[in-house]
Symmetry: C2
Subunit: 179 residues, 2 copies
Amino acid sequence: MPGDQVGRIIEAWQRERPDVDVSSIGIITPLWRLGAIAAENRTRVLGVHGLDQSHLDVLATLRRSGAPYRLTAGELSRRCRVTAGATTQRVQAMESLGLVERVREEPDRRTVHVQLTPEGLARLDEIFAVVMAGDDRLLAGLTPAQRTSLEGLLRDWLVGLEQHPVAGGAGVVGEVTGP
Amino acid sequence: MPGDQVGRIIEAWQRERPDVDVSSIGIITPLWRLGAIAAENRTRVLGVHGLDQSHLDVLATLRRSGAPYRLTAGELSRRCRVTAGATTQRVQAMESLGLVERVREEPDRRTVHVQLTPEGLARLDEIFAVVMAGDDRLLAGLTPAQRTSLEGLLRDWLVGLEQHPVAGGAGVVGEVTGP
DNA sequence: CCGCAATACTTTAGGGCTAAACGAGTGCGC
DNA sequence: GCGCACTCGTTTAGCCCTAAAGTATTGCGG
């Protein structure tokens, strides 16, 4: 059934390179494509409220950490999985909107605490439910059974990869000789 | 079973916002995270050969289109799902490496044809199998049954969304009044 | 045929990210 | 106490992308 776009890609490769097993494309490509659709969907939903995904990432990470909705900049970087430089930019943007504030205080004056302002908290709580509803609409085409099954498969796959990362079949040399 | 990171995120939200259904996080978040892991894996594999994902995207799209491995710049943009400006940059980069060449010819001199050079073809054919093997290693933790099941679910989900896009519960106004 | 909208690509301006250099502050070892 | 390695966050340079403006070319309507 070559009805779908991914199927056509696989067929093309089977024609051009019948010697290579390309079955992984049947998973990797839809994974990326669905991820992009979900991201576009969020961008659209958030755009209506004047925010973008990186803003939501910061606000939501602070919000779900619980009262007083405060994390250090470093902890925020780790939880959002972005570099420290990206966090600096994100926090500056949110600060200029009045949604978070930076607090430097004792005992370690290197550390910057980032905290949701009352307005930031209100704003996030208002938007969060809308975002979740938007995500949910993407899943409307799946039956409850499909959805449960998909969730389990993705969780198992991800947990497996996090516990046993695919190191490097060719890399990870060079670290044997220290500087 | 709060063993996994995504599960902890869901639990945090259930504690902080018990009024919101956050079950979609169980699918959307692993989707993005797995997509990022797959992308990092390809970046690593390709880096060994001095290329990156956008390079591979161009070369592989030309390659699987079949001999003479030639597409117009516009067609390349559509198939790679990037803007025309991005395609210009990508093609320039590949051209400077000698892997593709640009051909302007009759009858329409606006059109630019992008074609794999013999070296580009050889280079891609060498790397493609390595990339597919790299992707495959990510899937090693799944049983054949899980893999088949996951592939089917992702395909059905994607096909459904491509046929019935989630328009905008709040947007897509403004187009009723033409310019 | 002439004008003008449409098409095809390139260029420009700007955004968010990473990697790496940097500046400020901390605390261990002697 | 003092130096020095380390940690934390910010700054800088550069990458790839998008959106929009710009350039060249085509072809239709009158």
